[in-house]
């Protein structure tokens, strides 16, 4: 079984007029399945760039990237979309939910592109919402939900396809500490089920919940260590449902 992610000498250069911005300058990285990984680093160190390449949202300028042993560079746009849909669930800092669309429909959306029938879509989306403790909120639109609730909808959307990898770019960046713990608890639960969670953060107390911490600086990995993850405090019962 090939490793989940295998990167060799990955470079990513942005052309800004006459300037070249070298966001990644040769990254080697191997990630096995079933781990929780935190990617850390200062602002502008290339964390998001790396994650976007890992998530097949972006392509490296140079280097090889094998996802499950498949060379991503050879895939067409449509195949990349398919890989994203089936293999990866994204969670973004700014939630990126469709506005004026119910929580349920937001969660159902990835299944639509996999051709899942309406009945099954509904069933699976409801189950995913239940897993993030949002039962009863399925008809709410994003503007009727709190930030933490919106992020949980986004996590449900990432979970609904049963993708083996969840990639989260600063998922707690827009949330207060208490809500951040809720989100982290959910993500740890996902790891416990054998999935891989890769999360970008610049807060070390968030990175403390991961089994492995990779640190970037100026587009290079400067540190890569394993650790025993913390467990977030259990969510207080009363803030669970102040619906």
């Amino acid at each position: 079984m090939p490793p989940l992610i295998e990167m060799r000498a990955i470079e990513r250069t942005y052309v800004m007029g006459d300037n070249l911005v070298r966001a990644l300058r040769g990254v080697d990285l191997t990630i096995e399945q079933g781990a929780s990984i935190a990617i850390m680093g200062t602002s502008g160190s290339g964390k998001s760039t790396l994650m976007n390449i890992m998530g097949c949202l972006d392509q490296p300028t140079k280097g090889n990237y094998l996802l499950h042993g498949r060379d991503v560079a050879r895939l067409s746009r449509a195949q990349l979309a398919d890989v994203r849909g089936r293999m990866i669930g994204f969670v973004f800092q700014s939630f990126n939910l469709l506005s004026r669309t119910s929580a349920l429909e937001n969660v159902e959306m990835p299944l639509m592109y996999q051709g899942v029938g309406a009945g099954e879509r509904h069933r699976r989306a409801m189950a995913a919402l239940e897993r993030v403790n949002l039962k009863g909120r399925e008809d709410h639109h994003p503007n009727q939900l709190s930030g933490g609730q919106q992020q949980r909808v986004a996590i449900a959307r990432a979970l609904v396809t049963e993708a083996p990898v969840i990639m989260a770019d600063e998922p707690t960046g827009n949330l207060d500490t208490k809500t951040s713990y809720e989100v982290m608890a959910i993500l740890q639960g996902i790891v416990a089920q054998g999935k891989t969670v890769i999360l970008v953060t610049h807060e070390s107390d968030i990175a403390a919940y991961a089994q492995r911490v990779i640190t970037l600086r100026d587009g290079l990995i400067i540190d890569d260590r394993k650790q025993t993850p913390l467990t977030p405090p259990p969510p207080e019962k009363h803030d669970q449902e102040a619906a």
Binding site: G55, A78, D82, G85, R86, F90, F92, N96, Y113, T161
Partner: protein
Amino acid sequence: MSIFATLKLALRALWRNKVRSLLTMLGIVFGIGAVIAMVAGGQGAQAAVKEVFQSLGTNVLVVSNNSMRQGGPSQGAGGGAALTWEDLRRLEQESLPTVRYIAPVLETRTQLVSEGGNWATSVSGTTATWFKIRNWDVEQGASFDEDTGNSNAKVAVIGKTVAAQLFPNENPIGQVIRISGQPYEVLGVLTSKGQGPRGDNDDTVIIPLNAYKQKLSRDGGAKYLKGQILVSMMEDDQAETTMQKLTELLRDWHKLDAKDDDDFRIRNPAEFAKAQQDSTERIATLLAIVAAVSLFVGGIGVMNIMLVSVIERTREIGIRMAVGAKPVDVMTQFLVESLALAAVGGLLGLGLGYVSAQYMADYFGWKMFFPATTAAVAFAVAGGVGVVFGLYPAIRASQLDPITALRYET
């Protein structure tokens, strides 16, 4: 993604911007409406023109004196006329194989007087054959038989308009009208033929040829035939050959040299009808083109709005791509949206076209045409407009880079 789900998505997106969708749709509505109205109107107008010329009798040649020569230097005893009664007699004798009927017509405008009224109209003197050539029957009473037609009996067959003017409240049959002071008994009233190329066909009075010659011709109809000879043909396609043969005979009888111009004129009203119809058709085509241009403009409106919509929803596109939407999914989504926009517009346009065609038909007194094929084609065109003008925005949407789209700030 299933087409049903895509359609639902599209309709929902359109519904979210109700006013905008409606305004965009209006371009298509008016475009399709105009095309339908113009095509239906064109057909109505052409049918009307056709009807007018059919009232002349369809398979007829009209031989007349060459009006160009009237008042010219060659004006002789005939007062500009060159056709003679002798010509008519010889023509009848000739019995050309392509000729079915021949009838002379003399015509003048004069005053009619009845007990109840006064009316100026055209009075024609002719034979019974004329009714056959014009394919014109009486609605009431009788027309003349052969004998009456060739006699100088003081009888008349009148058109509906004349009947209405002179005998508004009575049965005209058996009544007396005075034509240039002479009393004529009304034998019959002709069926209505409506409008002809020279106006109201029904504003006419027909009297026997010899009565006309004696009472209305200034010279008593001695030598020259100061009117027309109607010649009808056996078959539809014999106009050309018959015209040639007649020209040949008349030139011979009139002793014209090869370098002389004809001193008579042979017209084929069917050709007039054709010319008239052609010009109506040209106008109809022109209007249809203008309508098509407005449909095109409507299509550009669709394209414009779809481009705006793609930009507004860049972020949405990015999100969809991130969770697995393929370029073709995104493209279909926008294409179905513009198609739905155009299709609904097309349907409303069909309604508008129908109503305007009906209105025009009423207003101009045409027959109402709403050909199913035109409607079907117009609807298909509306759909086509949606696809064609939606294609570019849809392709643009599908080509967006997921990262750029996700980062897009609205």
